[in-house]
Each structure stands twice: as structure tokens, then as C-alpha cells.
Symmetry: C2
Subunit: 530 residues, 2 copies
């Protein structure tokens, strides 16, 4: 070891199955379960790992790249200014981050791009969302959960006869964040335009993180005042009395801008000595003046079918006044950034998994397939193509395509199977695939060896048709099932799917077959991950 790692940190990160639930990665011990005098009794690098014997007898094994910080969780939660692209209006001279609703729904890459924009720029616009009531809830459902508030599951932004909020009038609204009187404040807002035929009523966005960063650069003392002064935000109507005392600019423990709340409409009476009030109001007015700088104001118009998604703890949104010469009707709802980030991470993880599968088909998969006349990749592509040609359901096409993936995963390789040692490739493959696919895909993969042993027991013609290599591995895998085993297998709810995959498996060994490549199957696999 070049540097001595912190012992409690190292032990807290022990990856063994006794310390972490292998199914969900959750730690299985309490930090207080570790002895007070914990120390490394012995440590050595071996086979790309740091092997540690602990003073209490426990043994841990850490991959060296993980120890060096090259693998494992990287970065942070991306919620502070450090994870953002701070912007001014001119940065969008070439257009807003946007996508068509249909493409967003159909293509995971398009979805990831939109969610990435919300994380990075604080907003994105979906175009062509059906201009129908309650559709905004469907948009929110694509990346998270609606946050219900006193305004309901959704709210209508249009002129109301007896408004409880300025939003429900035709007046101009200067840049602000919503619901600052809530704690937790909703971190995302959606605004879906159903009608906008009025003169005026344009939308504006300001990057509140950018404004705060400018304040810090130009007047650090003002910035400091705003980060350390809890401001009472209040909203009150007949059934509601919300209050949150939070600073206008919230920084994380490292001093990085994390959240902005800004809404003069709902700032109630701040009580403090007069000198502090003077300092606060000077800072507040300086910050407010920055938010009104033309360079920061990104103005655009929402047309029917447009849905704006934005970060409500970063961006301020505004509206110009509108004339009552036409109708303006938006529907809005709130949601949260954490679920959006999760959805994006899962999309990226799935995309990476598909890349990894593609690489396997091109790399290891291009190698010899256990004595057959085809490569492993050709074999699996043939099996997938046969399933597809047979009109099989997508999950069976995927299972056929991926059934042997366990041959190039896990510690035992396909060649071990040929050397007489069962690599249990159906289980290792299914376990690996279960990180992305449901049981409808992993089930047939898990049972495809059992299905072979079953078919050999009940269909003499099937066994007679096995290739030489397959006849050899049958013995390593336990030989044909007994009558009792076969009866139990037939009763298994997944037996039919497994048998179907097995038959494509056996047929997929033609040396001269022309098959589509892995990219052909990628959208189908992506849809099954959804």
C-alpha cells in the first residue's frame, strides 16, 4: 500500500457477503458493531486486490481500482452549483434544450438527454405533448412522482374570479421560485401549455445559481448575509397556513450554492435588530437587481403542447402580463429532483449495460463456442433471430439472444465446462441479467440448461439431434432428468418459455446463417429494461 487507508472507513466498505446484502447492497452491520480498537492485522496486495486480515479476525478483499477511487460511486449527488452549467440567456441563442414528446417516449437516449438538461441547465421543454387536461401528470410520471400540495395534484394557471394567488390573475409576475413557504419545497415544477392566444403572457427563466454566483463575485458580504439569514416565507388562505424560515441562498457544508428561494410576494415580517435588517435588505435588493439584468433573462413563449420542466430550487420563473384578448391556460404540477436523477441514472446504467453487452458480443463472444462451428456471438444472434422469425414475444427474443451470456461472465468460463466442470452458466447469466431485466427474461435463461435435460428425458428425437459438443456438456450438466424431475419441471410455470428458448438454442448452430447484428436487438432490449 502506498498510503495507509483509514481503518474504520476501510472496514465500513468491506464488500463481503457478510457485510453487505448481495441482493441490494445494503450494509448488514451497525457502525457500532465494529470494535473500538479495530486495526489492520495484516494487509497484502494479491491478484489486483488488497487483502486485509483485521484485528478481530474478519477478512476483507478490496479491488485496487476501487481503493484508488477509480471505481465505485463517483462525484456527488449533483445538486450543488458544482454539478451544474450556470448560464445566461445568450447561452441558448441556438435554441433551448428540448425534445419532441413522441421521441422522448420512444427513445431512452432522448429521454436521458432531456433529464440531463434539467439536471445541468435546470430546465428543458417537451414539444408536442397533447394539449389535454391532466397530461402534465403523465409527463411527471415519466421521471418521478407528483408532489401534491395545497393547490392539489395539479393547478390551473389561468384567470380566476377570486384568486388566492397572483398566478391566477393576468398580472405580470417577476422572477421567483414557487412555494418557498414549503419545507421541503417542491424541487421541480412542470408547466404544460394548453392554450395561449392572449397578447403577452410570455415565459421567462433566470438561472438563480448564476445570479447568486454573480452576487458572490461582486459583493461577497451580501452573499454571506443571504446565506446566513433565515427568512420567514408565509402563505395563508382559509385552509392553509404554511411557513418556512429558510435563507434566500442555501449553501452546502462546503459553501457551494445548493438552493435558491426567491419570492417577495410571500416574505413575511423578518424580525431582527435594525442594523441586521438594513444589511439584509441591502443584500436582498442587490440580489434581486441581479435577477432582473437583461443578460440573465431567458424569454420564450410556450405554445399549446409545450411542457416546461424546471428546477424550482434553482431557476426563477417569470411571466409577462397578458391582455384578455385571448385565452391563456397552463396546467402545472410539482415533482422532485431526486426521482428525476434516479430515473436518469437508471437510463444511463441501462445504456451502459447495453454497451457492455454489445462489447461482449464483439469481444469475448467472437471467440470459439464450445466446439461448435459458430462463434458464441453468432450462436446467440442466431437464437435471437430464430425467436424473432417465429414471432415470439419480445421477452423470449431477448432470452434467446442472451441465454448463454453466463458463458462469458463469472469466474468459470465456458472452456471450464468443456473441461468437465459445470460453470453453471445458466445461473450466473440469469443473475447478471437480473440487474436489468425482469424474471420474464431471466427465467428462461436460468432454466435453459434444465430445459435441455428435460427435453432429453421426454423427447428421444431431441436428444438424437444434439450436436456432439452439446451431448458432451449434457453429461457434465447432470444428464437427462429422471422421470420425477421431468414431471416437476413440466409443472414449473416458466417451463414452456424455457423449452421454447432451448429449441432455438439447439437450432442456432448453423455455420452459414446470416443474422442481424447486436444493434438490431438493442431497442427491443432497451424496451424490456423499462
Amino acid at each position: 500500500m502506498t498510503t495507509e487507508p483509514s481503518p474504520y472507513w476501510l472496514r465500513d466498505n468491506c464488500p463481503c457477503a457478510g457485510c453487505r446484502d448481495p441482493r441490494n447492497g445494503q450494509k448488514l452491520f451497525r457502525i457500532t458493531d465494529l470494535p473500538d480498537d479495530l486495526a489492520i492485522a495484516a494487509g497484502a496486495e494479491l491478484d489486483g486486490h488488497l487483502e486485509v486480515l483485521w484485528s478481530d479476525g474478519h477478512r476483507s478483499r478490496y479491488p485496487l481500482p476501487w481503493l484508488a477511487g477509480e471505481t465505485g460511486e463517483a462525484g456527488d449527488d449533483g445538486r450543488t452549483e458544482a454539478g451544474k452549467r450556470l448560464w445566461e440567456a445568450a447561452d441558448f441563442a441556438d435554441g433551448l434544450p428540448e425534445a419532441r414528446w413522441e421521441a422522448y417516449l420512444a427513445d431512452p437516449a432522448e429521454r436521458a438527454a432531456v433529464l440531463t438538461a434539467v439536471r445541468r441547465d435546470g430546465f428543458a421543454v417537451l414539444r408536442g405533448v397533447p394539449a389535454e387536461e391532466r397530461q402534465v401528470l403523465a409527463v411527471a410520471g415519466t421521471f418521478g412522482h407528483v408532489r401534491v400540495t395545497n393547490y392539489g395534484e395539479l393547478f390551473d394557471v389561468r384567470i380566476e374570479p377570486d384568486p388566492n394567488n397572483l398566478a391566477f390573475t393576468s398580472a405580470a409576475i417577476s422572477p421567483h421560485t414557487d412555494n418557498p413557504y414549503r419545507d421541503p419545497v417542491p424541487t421541480l415544477q412542470l408547466l404544460h401549455c394548453l392554450e395561449n392566444s392572449a397578447t403577452g403572457g410570455d415565459s421567462g427563466l433566470v438561472d438563480g445559481f448564476r445570479a447568486a454566483a454573480l452576487l458572490r463575485a461582486e459583493a461577497p458580504e451580501h452573499f454571506a448575509v443571504l446565506t446566513r439569514t433565515p427568512v420567514p416565507f408565509v402563505f395563508r388562505d382559509r385552509g392553509t397556513e404554511l411557513r418556512a424560515d429558510r435563507p434566500l441562498i442555501d449553501v452546502d457544508p462546503l459553501g457551494r450554492i445548493r438552493e435558491v428561494r426567491f419570492n417577495n410576494r410571500s416574505i413575511a415580517t423578518l424580525r431582527a435588530p435594525a442594523a441586521e435588517l438594513d444589511a439584509f435588505y441591502a443584500a436582498y435588493r442587490a440580489f434581486a437587481a441581479i435577477t432582473l439584468r437583461p443578460a440573465l433573462q431567458l424569454d420564450f413563449r410556450l405554445d399549446p403542447g409545450d411542457c416546461l420542466i424546471f428546477d424550482n430550487v434553482r431557476l426563477m420563473h417569470a411571466r409577462t402580463a397578458f391582455a384578455q384578448d385571448g385565452r391563456r391556460h397552463l396546467q402545472g404540477c410539482y415533482a422532485d429532483l431526486d426521482s428525476l436523477a434516479s430515473t436518469l441514472a437508471v437510463l444511463e446504467r441501462r445504456s451502459a449495460a447495453l454497451d457492455e453487452l454489445a462489447a461482449l458480443f464483439e469481444g469475448e463472444g467472437a471467440g470459439e463456442y464450445l466446439g461448435e462451428a459458430v462463434t458464441m456471438a453468432e450462436h446467440m444472434l442466431q437464437a435471437g433471430a430464430l425467436a424473432e422469425a417465429a414471432g415470439a414475444a419480445p421477452h423470449l427474443v431477448a432470452a434467446a439472444l442472451l441465454h448463454d451470456v453466463g458463458h462469458f461472465r463469472g469466474t468459470l468460463h465456458g472452456r471450464d465446462l468443456m473441461a468437465g466442470q459445470d460453470n453453471r452458466h445458466s445461473d450466473t447469466g440469469a443473475d447478471w441479467l437480473a440487474r436489468w431485466f425482469g424474471p420474464e427474461v431471466t427465467g428462461p435463461v436460468r432454466l435453459h440448461v434444465a430445459a435441455k435435460r428435460y427435453l432429453c428425458a421426454v423427447e428421444p428425437a431431441y436428444r438424437a439431434g444434439l450436436s456432439e459438443a452439446s451431448e458432451y456438456t449434457l453429461r457434465v450438466q447432470g444428464g437427462p432428468m429422471s422421470e420425477q424431475e421431468a414431471a416437476a419441471f413440466a409443472d414449473h410455470p416458466g417451463a414452456a418459455d424455457a423449452v421454447a428458448v432451448r429449441r432455438w438454442d439447439e437450432q442456432a448452430k448453423a455455420a452459414d446463417a446470416r443474422t442481424p447484428d447486436f444493434a438490431h436487438f438493442r431497442p427491443l432490449l432497451a424496451s424490456l429494461m423499462g
Copy 2:
């Protein structure tokens, strides 16, 4: 003025109708709308107010008690340790904060007591909640909105075959907060017991604020480390990848404990120089050891029908292991403290309004009623009693009881009416009541004078029966309606209710009638505020 108030602060708090929407109290100007050189041109105390002429010509008028901080929003949002009662287990030797579900539903005071306990102690138990599926959502609905998470709208805590979380096994779970990997984290949790016949499976709570305060007292350097170290909390399953980097102990800008996150299961790899990791783990282990002190552990058993409501950013909850000799099934959901605080504030505001009404009936209401043989309070109580005796709907009983409340509200008094100046008491009364009651109550109050003018127009016998005083005020109020006015009134959807109230009004002037007192009507009024 004894001290010079801060000018921008003072102006930002101008209560005039041009500066604040009288309907919702929202401010109607931007802080940047105020001139850069704003100053007080002249100020004087007059009639209990500070009258200010501003340098830009605006005039403001501030009640002196408000200026002195005696009225207006007091305190803060109650979310830090300053607003709590920090506890150890012995503080509940005489019992937990609890209520019966039926009493909680029926009695606003009981509801307020339970919600107060959640705010103050961090938890309360409702007993006798029907042990039925999804009932926990009904409990949450009494004070807020369910926060949907990756676990769904609600979650079942029972043994699951392939758990994605330790909660869904029979293992012991040490004190922790839930979902620390969410940001915003759900601030409230509900656990509703449907079955608990297993041996073990008891519940435990620890006051995390108390534990943090002890750490601060005993080892301030450890406390400081935990408040300034963002910890990566991670949860990952096939469809989820949540991450939040937050300190274990979150303090507000004034250094007060505000939130605790504590869950070793989901702490991922913290990356920092070894010395910082050593400091963090020493502090973390010290904090964890405090949470395990027997004095802090409040243990109890949830029985079927019990619903525990607790603050998930303050209290840590735990569970003892249980044997599989019986069944244990809880249903849980998440919600948020802000809505709970709002619900409590509205309950308290309504209770205060009823107190104020009661005082009016006893105070001003005991005075002369415009030349009638009864006091104003007797008159209104009689009207309410007549409506009740007639089997009228609750909102009509309330309207009859409260119809003349405008006589003792507002700037013009009932005596002005007798002096020939219409005090528009139906409007002032209805406006005041609208802060608590819906249009079904305020409508008849608002229209009860119009109803008199209507009845005098269409029913000669009604007019003949008016008391002498009522005949006098009729003229001040505009006399009988014209035929056109009467037709328009009859078409009004609220006409029938207003006429009904008016008839009880006229009958309610008997000098010798025995009526129930205000307290008799209080539950009815409270139910109409709900």
C-alpha cells in the same frame, strides 16, 4: 419613535391595499421597485399607529403593537431544536402521546393535541385505527399529502421472499431514519399495524435531536465534523438509483439542529483524505453510540389498529427481531411536516376564532341591540336556536347564529346604523366570517339585509310584522326593493337560504326566550370550518 426602524424593512411591510393583496396577503410589488434612496420624509404616532410619509410620496400606516413585535407572525417555523421538546425514554414513563382514532376525527382539540405532539416530541400514536389495508393513507390525509416514493404510495412491512430492503425481513433493525438517500427526504413517516402476533418485532424510537445535542455537549468537535461532512447515501435496485450527499446532522444558519439523517445501511463510500475519514468515523461512531444508550431508547409494542406518526428528520426508529411464530404486518407511508404544521396552525386559528366569537357574544354582544328588547347576543342565539329547532341544515344554523356579527366588527358600529348611517354590517360580517367559513355560511349573512328589503317588497305581511327599530333601519338600508330588484334577487341561487335566515332573524327578538349559550353551537361551527 424610540428607535429608528430600518427603512426598506418598514416599507416592505407596508400593509396598505396597494402594497398587499387584501384577499391573500401577498405582496404586490418587487423589492427592486422601491427607490434606491428611500427614506422616511415624515413620521408621526397617531391613534395607535405610526404614520409614515415616504420620500417617494407613498404613505404607510403601521399599528404600534405590530411595530413592537407584539402582533404579526411570531417565532419561526418550529423546525429546529428550538421549537422542540428534546426527550429521553423516561419522559414518557406516564404514557406516550396518543389518542383514539374516533376522538381524533371527531374533536378538533384532540386533533390539534396529536399534531402538536408530533411537532414537539416528534411522534404520536393513534389507537383504534381500523386494521384494514390502505387505512394508513386515510390517516395521512387528515393532516397532509402522501409523498409517493420508489416503494409506492404505501409500503408493506412484512417478510418478503426477495427483499430489496432489510425492512422486509424478520431481522432486527437498529435506530435509523428512512430514505436518507432522498433529497428532499420525506419528513414524516406513518406506520400502521395490521397484525403483530409474532414474538418480538417491538418498536423503538430515539430522539435524534437529543442524541445530537448530547454529542454537541460531550464532544463538540465530533458534532462539528458531522455537521460539515456531506455523506453519500445511496439506494439502488433494478429501477432505482437514488443518491443524496447530506450531513448526518444538519444545522440551520444559526447553528441549531434542524435535521438528522442516520442509516448505516445506505452510506456508500465516502471519499476524502485519510485524516478526514478518521475524524468522520470517530465522530460517526460516537454519535451512533449515543443513539444506542438505553436511556434514549423508547420501546413499545404496536398492536393491530395502532398507527405511529413520526418525524423522519428527527426521530430514529428501530425494530427488534421477530420469530416466525406469528404474523407481523405493518403498512407505512410518507408525508411531510410542512402540511402537518399548516393543518395544526389552521386548527389553532379556527379555535382562536371560535374563542373570539365566544368573547364577542359575552362582551359587545351583551350590549343593547338597536332598540330591541333583547341584547345582540340574545338575538343571535335566538336566531340560531330557531334555525336549529326548524331542523335547518348546519350551515343555516350557523348563518342564523352569526348573521349580525358585522354589527360588532369593522369601523362602523351598530349604533351608527341607528344614527342613520348604513354600516353595511351584512358585508363586513360576511367578509370577516369568510376567513373561516365557506360561502354556504357567509352567503346568507351577506344577503340577510337584501332579503329583508326583498321580503318587504313581495310580502306586505312581512313588512307589517317588522319591529319599530327594524322598520327604521329598513329606510337607512335603502327601503324595499323595486320590482326589478326583487325579481333579480329571487333568481339569485342563495336567495332561499337568505330568506330563511331573515325570517329567523325577525322572530328572534323575544324578550323572554330561553336559548342555549354560544358553547352549545361551538361544535357545529367547528365542523363547518373543517
